[in-house]
Symmetry: C2
Subunit: 110 residues, 2 copies
DNA sequence: GCTCAGCTTGCAGACTTCTGCAAGTCGGCA
DNA sequence: TGCCGACTTGCAGAAGTCTGCAAGCTGAGC
């Protein structure tokens, strides 16, 4: 294999590792949206958003097409929603663990 | 919220965005393992592996404990396995799409 | 107490990624 | 045809990540 599988996986996760890109994917979960709508919700420079969209496009995670005067973006596969959900679950588990530790630490008075 | 949720999510995904860290997590899916075993399977400098383990530890994705002379690492939550599985599914979807496009491109003779 | 295996930490140089500004492209419409 | 809104591209400086070498730490066993 020219690019080992685990490297491809790492690249995919890295692609998701940016606040703007996460926001975009979350917004696209409800269906295709034009760039202008994303821009209205995300509060970032247009050029920056465009760069981040390009990253997602290159990774094959979203697809774009033109609809009249607007450029629309959509998730390339609904599996992305699962990934985000799994991420949320882990975040939840990690944060409760952390709080648990916090409580433990307090209990030990240290 | 001091750290917006989507930023925390982005950080989590970024944490997974490294070949060595992905390998570690895959290996740990089968249960806790000492560093020396990971080192034997991953082919990377000990110091490098240690750095990557520290990244995962800081993110709360793995936990470490000592067992005799060895330092053991384990997934902090089994949810991590779900995330990896979801990642695999998307990668599969994206790659088939890409092949699909490839076929299309060939069909158009371009 | 010493020594050694098994890890971790501290760096620094090479390399990537991020961000905003300025400029460019592309349809749609008057 | 010319103009305008809607995006995208090209940079370049700032910031962050990665890697290996050398040094440090910490139990276990003698």
């Amino acid at each position: 294999m020219s690019v080992p599988l685990y490297q491809a996986k790492a690249e995919m996760f890295r692609t998701l590792g940016h606040p703007v890109r996460i926001r975009v994917l979350e917004l696209l979960q409800d269906g295709p949206k034009p760039v202008r709508d994303l821009l209205a919700e995300i509060d970032v420079e247009a050029s920056n958003l465009s760069q981040q969209l390009a990253v997602l496009r290159r990774a094959g995670i979203v697809a774009s097409f033109r609809d009249g005067a607007l450029v629309m973006y959509a998730l390339s596969t609904p599996d992305v929603a699962d990934l985000l959900a799994a991420g949320r679950r882990i975040l939840g588990a990690v944060l409760t663990d952390r709080d648990g530790l916090l409580v433990e630490l307090r209990a030990q008075r240290r």
